[in-house]
């Protein structure tokens, strides 16, 4: 029987889990304490068997207000593929305008997961939203 303390990273509650395993971890053999919700148990098991992470970074934008936008993997990817995902995005440049959710890369680094924009970038030539200037 081994006990491992891990912080659940699914939400900002950040429950500190006490995870007890004996032998190979399975849904039945793993005992999780300290989770405020059932997701904590799922997280602990997945963390033992197949840890996944959401990668967030930036890519360059041409013709926009500012030079870059932020992006994320549309779903968590296996932890060991984070470096490959980041490498695949290096040098990526997209054109303004950018809307939140726009696809920036498809099936990135063979993970089956897309990369999407997380910040809207208007074109430099577009007029400023009047609601932001109406005084």
């Amino acid at each position: 029987m081994t006990t491992r303390r891990m912080a659940c990273i699914l939400c900002p509650s950040g429950c500190e889990l006490d995870v007890r395993t004996s032998g190979e971890p399975t849904a039945d053999s793993v005992v999780v304490e300290g989770n405020l919700c059932p997701r904590g148990e799922e997280y602990a098991l997945e963390e033992l068997l197949n840890p996944r992470r959401t990668l967030t970074t930036t890519v360059l934008v041409r013709g926009g207000v500012g030079t870059q936008t932020s992006v994320k993997t549309a779903a968590p990817v296996p932890r060991e593929s984070l470096a490959a995902v980041r490498a695949a995005l290096l040098g990526t440049t997209i054109d303004a305008p950018v809307a939140i959710g726009d696809r920036v890369a498809e099936d990135v680094a063979g993970t089956g997961v897309d990369v999407v924009a997380t910040r809207a970038i208007p074109r430099r030539s577009d007029p400023v939203d009047v609601r932001l200037r109406n005084r």
Partner: protein, 414 residues
């Protein structure tokens, strides 16, 4: 100068707290003007490109910019007027404001003002770290802006002083950008950031965390070349002979956030020395009638969701104040931070209050502990904490039909 403009509610600051306050006030029927010094709404969330936001507020995991876009959309749909690229440069206790924008200064007056200016970072000068003055010393937030908004690489080999959340997030971000993070030093014997960030940003990348250590010298002439790291004892004094040198070209500082209350002081708002923010009652109203405060300018939050929720509550109260009949301040009781509690917000409450949301931080980490609210000998609420930690804000909801029959409440650890 244009004519003086009158409105129901002015919100100062367009981050998560200010946008939520503006939205809630407008939804309650008030005419709202929001003033922000940046071009884009959302405040610091726009540079917080990592995920983990929104689970409490929206029931899904969002990045900072996505969270900002949601709260901004709500405020704009509620019909608020926004003045971006504009700084409020003066505020009086009679709620008269001066706004300054490129080439123009103009006055505003409001029935209610919501302070939501956020906070700023502690700097090297405030720490008085000895050594030379080379390039390559950044606050963690400045490095975050350069990396995420301006496409600037801040350094190749980085040491981080302080284990605040922004520094932890930046450690992982810089690793992902190809930099090496040589370590993090924290003066306290425990991390000041959230446990989940220590886990997912440091431990996962084998970045050493030196607890009870600090940087005692910065080396380098033009650019940082190394830092001296020293162990500190429990009285927070350096222990001779424990120094070691770490080669690096960059030093990030993540050593605390300070509520930005210069305008509040102008308006004679009474501040709490423990939070650095205003003293407020349960409606988030400060010592000055009609001036409200919420978000990081009131007290430092660990979650944007909570700052937004607080803004929502403050905005509703501000609208009620602006639109309602003028009433004088009702009798208030004190809420004090007792043993084991660093601070409590609100610090005051009207005796007639039937519901109170108390936010607090405990002083020291403790497993299986209980925070209690007492009125004299009576315990009127308690909250048990499995892994209590100063980095994690605790909130307690108090209900008492017919108001609170006490002059003073105390929150303490049992």
């Amino acid at each position: 100068m244009s004519d003086r403009r009158e409105t129901d509610v002015v919100v100062i600051g367009g981050g998560p707290a200010g946008l939520s306050a503006a939205a809630a006030a407008a939804e309650a029927g008030a005419k709202v003007v929001l003033v922000d010094r940046n071009r884009q709404l959302g405040g610091i969330l726009n540079q917080c490109i990592h995920d983990g936001f929104g689970l409490q507020a929206f029931g899904e995991v969002l990045t900072g910019p996505e969270f900002a876009a949601r709260v901004a959309a709500r405020a704009l749909e509620a019909g608020i007027e926004v003045h971006t690229d504009t700084m409020v440069t003066d505020l009086t206790s009679s709620r008269e404001l001066v706004c300054t924008t490129s080439g123009e200064r103009y006055p505003l007056r409001a029935e209610a003002v919501v302070l939501a200016m956020g906070c700023r970072e502690r700097t090297r000068g405030m720490l008085r770290i000895p050594g030379t003055r080379p390039a390559g010393v950044y606050t963690a937030g400045a490095a975050q802006w350069l990396t995420n908004m301006a496409d600037v690489r801040v350094g190749r080999r980085v040491f981080i002083l302080g284990s605040g959340d922004v520094g932890l997030i930046m450690a992982r971000r810089l690793v992902w950008e190809g930099a090496e993070v040589a370590g993090v030093a924290e003066l306290l014997p425990y991390p000041s950031g959230l446990p989940r960030n220590v886990s997912q940003c440091l431990e996962e990348y084998d970045i050493p965390l030196y607890l009870a250590h600090s940087v005692t010298c910065i080396h380098g002439r033009d650019r940082v070349e190394a830092v001296t790291v020293t162990r500190f004892d429990e009285r927070r004094l350096p222990i001779a002979g424990t120094e070691f040198e770490v080669a690096c070209d960059t030093l990030l500082l993540s050593v605390g956030l300070i509520p930005e209350n210069e305008l509040s002081r102008n308006a004679d708002v009474v501040l709490d020395p423990m939070t650095g923010g205003a003293v407020v009652n349960e409606r988030y109203m400060t010592s000055v009638d009609g001036i409200f405060s919420c978000g990081n300018v009131l007290h430092i939050h660990d979650l944007a969701d909570r700052a937004a929720e607080e803004g929502d509550r403050a905005g509703r109260c501000a609208a009620r104040y602006a639109l309602g009949p003028s009433t004088s301040r009702r009798e208030e009781l004190r809420i004090d931070a007792g043993e084991g509690i660093r601070y409590v917000v609100p610090q005051r409450a009207e005796r007639s209050a039937e519901e109170l949301l108390v936010s607090l931080r405990i002083s020291e980490p403790a497993d299986r502990c209980t925070a209690v609210v007492t009125a004299g000998d009576r315990v009127i609420a308690e909250e048990s904490l499995r892994h209590g930690h100063p980095s994690t804000m605790v909130q307690m909801r108090l209900r008492s039909r017919g108001g609170i029959d006490a002059d003073r409440l105390e929150v303490r650890m049992r």
